[in-house]
Symmetry: D2
Subunit: 355 residues, 4 copies
């Protein structure tokens, strides 16, 4: 089959790769209908992988995909050929002590090899979804049925970034009446803003450097701050009678923004970091966190926990995830999609690919 | 001063009553700008009070009011003459073991006399707000400043019924993605519907017998069921893939609707009863509650806990409480307002009075 | 094989019954090592079943059992022949919308037939564990491994009544510093008392009519009230500076005790009912529940949710469930065990049977 | 009056200082019966204060004290001369937006001056309790009555470090069945261990370098690890089937222990830092926090929130805070107490002073 295959830094190719096959009794093969490029795919694109991967060892990338079940292992109970499904980007076995606690991203079974974690498209063990077909392990746990009434694009982002945005709002404990600051108006930041409003925030202040992205946030009901032109701290203090934001969500992935978050969040407030930092360590303003009793949370998303909440919101028209789609390309144009997305060309927000 | 004074069943009169005076160091006198008639005032109207109240012992009724501080006791720290304020309908001392837990309605100080509880307008000890002026005890605890930007009507319902509606959604633990049924489209039911949506419900099914009220609910974003014409149970099962509602809010005050709630709520769901039942006891379908692991909550509202969440939502245009106002009358027309409200005349929803 | 077989009211017989066989791919057959008689088995003993069951249609009763896996279906991932396991009394498929929410007792798959719910030993469809062997459906969801270090009796009550007692403390939201009243010092009441202390209650007041049971509660760290000799209300008010208990757990199964609970619980307090009422309806003191903002919860236990918390507490010696065992009988003496337990003979507390 | 007065680094003197006087209507003067030296007093002792304080500008230090009300301002409602009371170390006005949320340590009123925060004994504005008497502002909010049945030493640590230890267990969301690691067996670490057990932890692993302190932890029911002799990581993995601790509490105040905490805590686990770091910033293992979905919380204690929970536990014998007292000295020996405590002499754990 055809797929976008990893060959190293800045070298993703549309080419032939072996067809996926059932390996375990709980596996399913999904024929992909739509897939998307995620910001975390760019970490691979920009940085390559630390360990060397042989020329012939390329694997399909991508972890956001949706399609139709083509084949199922004998142990699969909930799905059959022809079912329209989406996959969680994070794969868990469903039975281990971590999965039973909803921590699929820490699945004992998937991480046992010691190698790559259970996210599609980052290793040869779990090839990705920017491909014509994908093998999904433990499919009763990791696949979710797509209601007929939803279009592919309405459902696609349930695989990762809509749950990620929601997780940000949940980790920041956003609740009715809160003032919430969201750093970043990219796809994940946009979803965090929408989910903060959905959870009853009184006001969401969206921060970015790009006026076009800010204009989009304004349309969704946010106040906006272009932090290259305005003083964010002053705006937040003004908005909150001098107290600071109840909650701040970092959706960019820069350690200095965590420090900024600590400065603009009120005593007792909550900070969630859903942007992915590229450095292994971060230096934080500890004394400030201490004096202000701030809580700080981060983590990989486990879409399995959020899909049951988010799906009915899409079905009933209360969330429209399609607002972020800026590019629709054939899968064969995937390499160009990466170039556009990585280099912020063509006013890109989110690239969807179709095999 | 003038006030609506209680004289017995169906006998509320607009007449002179003694001016309120400071009695304790924490008291404030509030000159009333707007006040409203509440469904629970009708319990007094219809039923009278159990204990006999002498002809000369009339007291001003009403517990929803807003105005301007006229005078404060020496112990009042947070308010001064001229401040625009609203009062919580439930009065607590702020210092006792119950108030410290946020249970102002169980205030040990206010209930010590053993007599009436600490709600305005039900006794000579705590005359009400359908009057030109009111004495507010423990004013640092029970008064809240009204921001300049808000009109009187925008703020007025924070005194009781907007917090009551919100409390219903909170007691029913309404959260993102839930399907919520609300019995009743009166003022409290309407606010419960708005607050369920605000907390992220995927769908709110509003139930009533009155098509005009249902039409109003539909405008707010609810689905509607006229239970005299449609089968509510079928509608709910259909809407929820056969499971039942996640949460049900009773905002009418009928024991049989609690039984209906138990039938249409899914296993593990939550029922909140914010309608006030007139009977002392209620017969409930216990085996059903047991087999379905349902939780059941009820109670008097403590607006003090909810105003800080709700006020910024009104300020930022995310909640518009004025949608329920159907009648605006001078205070002198209060007795007519009671007649209209009690007898569902003139398509009434909520009556606001102005001294 | 041999089992205790249901033949009607007061007619449980130790006799031959067909060996269990694998029916589904997720089934396991468990050879029983220990089983116990539960208070809810007595409902069957006393009342029989509403619908007629033919003479030849008898089924094995009992839902508390532990043993060794003898055979597994092809779809079973987590268990194999020889594993020492206990089963949850409530059976869920693990995949449906209710099971995914932890509401195994409302499992859509198990209740689909419309017949009996998914509890062992109440129907021919799901024969019970007072038998030499049992078929366990969806065994990856409903079986739990027993650590080698635990004796059979230490682990046995994880199948139902230890989680039930814990659920009572959780439903009543027992937390550090609380004063908790527990009605009933039977097996479930005893576990509720232990779990209330475990969750940090400052004091647990155990209520019963039987001084021997009360003495046992006192040894566990409870204060005790013999409600036939002392005034419970006075004791509670005295213990709580006149406020009432923070939480009350009913572990007897009498509607009048729910009313008593409402009287002795403080405003804003919580009532959990884990005793099983035999009547379909219960008349509750609604006005009192309303004026005191009480929450009321009841339900079937889902041990799957509690075993991961409770098992390490037993392993580390912080909970000793064996304190309740008063009788150890061979399975063949099961019918006598029922007579002893049902008629409160021989100072019985809990009867354990061994095949 | 006499007090321990700050004169600079390592220069605390027992000397005359002006008697406290009522300054505001809500003030109370408390005659001190017992006071104690806290680990955070040592920050002052070791580091001095950043800004220069004149020779004559010395102030009484100390923020843990208990005594008898001597005089009250006119606005004080809840206390009168002769009442036995303890004071919260953190002072809040009780009325501002922060205090109403329970964030007394972020009190808008107390921090308005911009100067020192509202903790006793760190500035001339709010002299401390290692003195014969102290002025307590907003006394209705910050004083708590001591029950007659409690000794001074039983109640003393409610002023700060028992709530701090409890806060650590709460911030780490310790619950029934958890495995909890506590770094540090000093006074605060000891209380964190006791509170983790109280909240139902299955096992608490106490870590320190001092075998005598570890022996004390063992007596309280902890497992112990001397991290200079044993491999903590291995011990934790062994104890948790390879998963890691559910919760870790840092009660030492070293940034490198936060990194260790991240290594030994399981995916989805919680880290609370109640040790006070002396550096303004801390470098944290961000990628690890991210990959493991860890939450991180820190902050100043607000004893007002915890005293109502903890007091009944002491009254009922479920918590004994006196176990930490190693030294009882007259107030005049305070400077020697500091030397002993700061330099770990005489196997010191906690120094109590008596004026």
């Amino acid at each position: 089959m055809k797929a976008i295959v990893y060959h190293g830094k800045h070298d993703f190719r549309y080419e032939n790769t072996p067809d996926p096959k059932l390996e375990g009794e709980s596996d399913a093969i999904v024929r992909v209908a739509r897939t998307a490029i995620c910001g975390s795919d760019l970490h691979l694109w920009h940085g390559g992988l630390p360990e060397g991967i042989g020329a012939s060892g390329g694997f399909a990338v991508g972890h956001e995909f949706l399609g139709v079940v083509e084949e199922t292992g004998r142990g699969v109970r909930g799905f059959k050929k022809g079912d329209r499904v989406l996959a969680s980007c994070t794969v868990g076995c469903g039975d281990c002590a971590m999965c039973r606690r909803g921590m699929y991203s820490g699945c004992v079974t998937m991480t046992k090899g010691g190698g790559a974690s259970g996210v599609f498209g980052f290793s040869t063990g779990l090839p990705g979804g920017q491909a014509e077909a994908v093998r999904v392990p433990f499919s009763d746990t990791n696949l979710f049925r797509v209601p007929d009434a939803l279009s592919d694009e309405q459902a696609l982002f349930l695989t990762d970034i809509l749950p990620t945005g929601y997780m940000g709002a949940e980790m920041a404990e956003v609740g009715p009446g809160d003032t919430v600051v969201v750093f970043g108006c990219g796809p994940v930041g946009t979803f965090a803003q929408m989910c903060a409003l959905l959870r009853g925030a009184a006001r969401v202040i969206a921060v970015d450097l790009d006026d076009q992205r800010l204009a989009r946030a304004a349309k969704l009901g946010c106040e906006t701050v272009n932090s290259s032109k305005e003083n964010l701290g002053e705006r937040v203090l003004e908005a909150t009678h001098g107290l600071g934001a109840d909650a701040t969500i970092e959706a960019v992935g820069r350690a200095d923004l965590i420090t900024q978050a600590a400065m603009i969040t009120r005593p007792g407030g909550r900070i969630a970091v859903i942007g992915v930092l590229t450095e292994a360590t971060a230096t934080l303003p500890w004394f400030l966190l201490f004096m202000k009793n701030l809580s700080l949370r981060t983590g990989l998303v486990n879409p399995q926990n959020f899909i049951p909440k988010l799906l009915p919101l899409i079905e009933n028209g209360r969330l429209d995830p399609t607002v972020i789609v800026s590019h629709r390309l054939p899968l064969s144009d995937g390499p160009r999609g990466y170039d556009v997305f990585a280099n912020h060309k063509e006013n890109v927000l989110k690239v969807v690919l179709q095999p």
